[in-house]
């Protein structure tokens, strides 16, 4: 528990995390404002699917900040050395960090969902789709999983640029994983494509239909698998 509190303190003092929080709120609400006046069954949910940029930054920065080398005048060290001296059990350290990321991502997802849905309902009035608790839970789940996905990939790579680039490019309107679905239907089972099924009804021309519950299972499997892989690599590797 103390380790989780320490990780939360670290996250809270990173300027990038505050930037990530701002992005998490601004991006989906901004897209919702630009799309105002266009009704549809997925209005609001679609914006939240594209607006995950904030939690991606959160997950990446939580890890990459540990690996950043300080300037020579600040000793040229890395945060990670200090962290592992304080919490020598690597699994416990990683679990505490993932826990802290979840503790930040969940309230952010709630806030972003509430703000986006409020905008959709104010701009569309009675033409907006009715709120559905299951889909809203899906949004929060998708955002939290995306943060953990970014977290696990960054642990594996020990540098933030590659996961940040790949994941951000993939939040584009026509994502790379979506393009891959035209090549093979297996691409519908990528974590983002499957996870979106928790709350977005139709994706493109829908070659494969995945029910929301299966989407949840597929994305959970990806996240769990990558976290286990990250933990396994992290415990074996020289920090």
């Amino acid at each position: 528990m103390r380790a989780v509190r320490a990780e939360l303190a670290k996250l809270g003092t990173l300027p990038s995390v505050w930037l990530a929080a701002a992005l998490a709120l601004v991006v989906p609400t901004g897209i919702a404002l630009l799309n105002r006046g266009v009704p549809g069954p997925d209005r609001g949910y679609q914006e939240l699917a594209f607006g995950v940029m904030g939690v991606i930054v959160l997950g990446v920065v939580a890890v990459s900040s540990e690996y950043l080398t300080e300037g020579a005048d600040a000793g040229g060290g890395r945060q990670l050395t200090t962290s592992l001296t304080a919490v020598p059990s690597r699994v416990r350290f990683l679990a505490a960090k993932a826990g802290a990321v979840v503790l930040v991502a969940v309230p952010l997802a709630f806030a972003a969902t509430a703000a986006t849905m409020a905008i959709v309902h104010v701009t569309l009035a009675e033409r907006a789709a009715a709120l559905d608790a299951g889909r809203l839970a899906g949004v929060v789940c998708y955002w939290t999983y995306t943060a953990l996905l970014a977290f696990a990939i960054t642990v594996l790579l020990r540098h933030g640029v590659v996961p940040l680039t790949v994941l951000l490019v993939n939040t584009s309107v026509v994502s790379v994983t979506f393009l891959l679905t035209k090549f093979t239907p297996l691409a519908y089972y990528f974590p983002d494509m499957a996870g979106m099924r928790m709350f977005v009804g139709r994706i493109g021309d829908d070659g494969v239909v995945i029910p929301p519950l299966l989407g949840l299972l597929v994305m959970s499997a990806w996240v769990a698998g990558l976290l286990v892989l990250a933990a396994a690599v992290f415990t074996r590797r020289d920090a």
Partner: protein, 190 residues
């Protein structure tokens, strides 16, 4: 001066890995979608990373202090850096711009539109220079990459109707950002 900047750029492993991965991703995506110019939309990410890395790598260690001791005229130093960057980027951008159409030529027999290849090459080179200027302003690799990718891949598709053509935006913003970067670089404490 340009030669010094070139040797710094060429000795960064990140330069070669970024450009190689961008080309590889571009070729792969061409096969996947089999449309000449769409993969370039994604390959822009690689050039953004390259441009930001080129200037931000000075700030990860203490390289910038050595650089400015040797070349105290800051605007000239920055100009040399951008010139060196352009020298490296131009052939890489040409390779990426050519890879898509030449694959479609080999597979489908569609003739290569050289005017379009030239336009894509210019676009990618300017984009790299803009990224380098943003890197100078932010002095932080992740922040620069995040900001630019956020603008291009997240915000731009939704702001499309409010913005002029991509190329026009870029041609206008390149000199503006280069000048702003030079002014900040000159006045700010390194």
């Amino acid at each position: 001066m340009i030669r010094a900047e070139l040797s710094k750029l060429a000795s960064l492993p990140a330069t070669w890995t970024t450009l190689a991965w961008t080309l590889a991703a571009n070729v792969l995506l061409t096969f996947v979608i089999a449309v000449g110019d769409t993969p370039v939309a994604y390959s822009r990410a690689g050039f953004i990373v390259f441009g930001v890395l080129a200037t931000c790598s000075e700030y990860t260690g203490g390289q910038i202090r050595t650089t400015l001791t040797v070349m105290p005229r800051r605007v000239r130093q920055l100009a040399a850096k951008h010139a060196a960057l352009a020298v490296v980027t131009l052939p890489a951008a040409l390779a990426v711009a050519l890879s898509g159409p030449s694959i479609t030529l080999a597979v489908l027999g569609t003739p290569v539109d050289f005017w379009q290849v030239a336009e894509v090459t210019a676009y990618l080179t300017l984009l790299t220079l803009v990224s380098a200027a943003v890197g100078v302003l932010l002095r932080h690799t992740l922040a620069g990459v995040g900001l630019l990718l956020g603008c291009l891949f997240v915000a731009a598709p939704f702001l499309h109707e409010y913005l002029p053509d991509d190329m026009v935006t870029l041609v206008v913003s390149t000199p503006v950002l280069l000048i702003v970067a030079a002014v900040f670089h000159r006045r700010r404490d390194a």
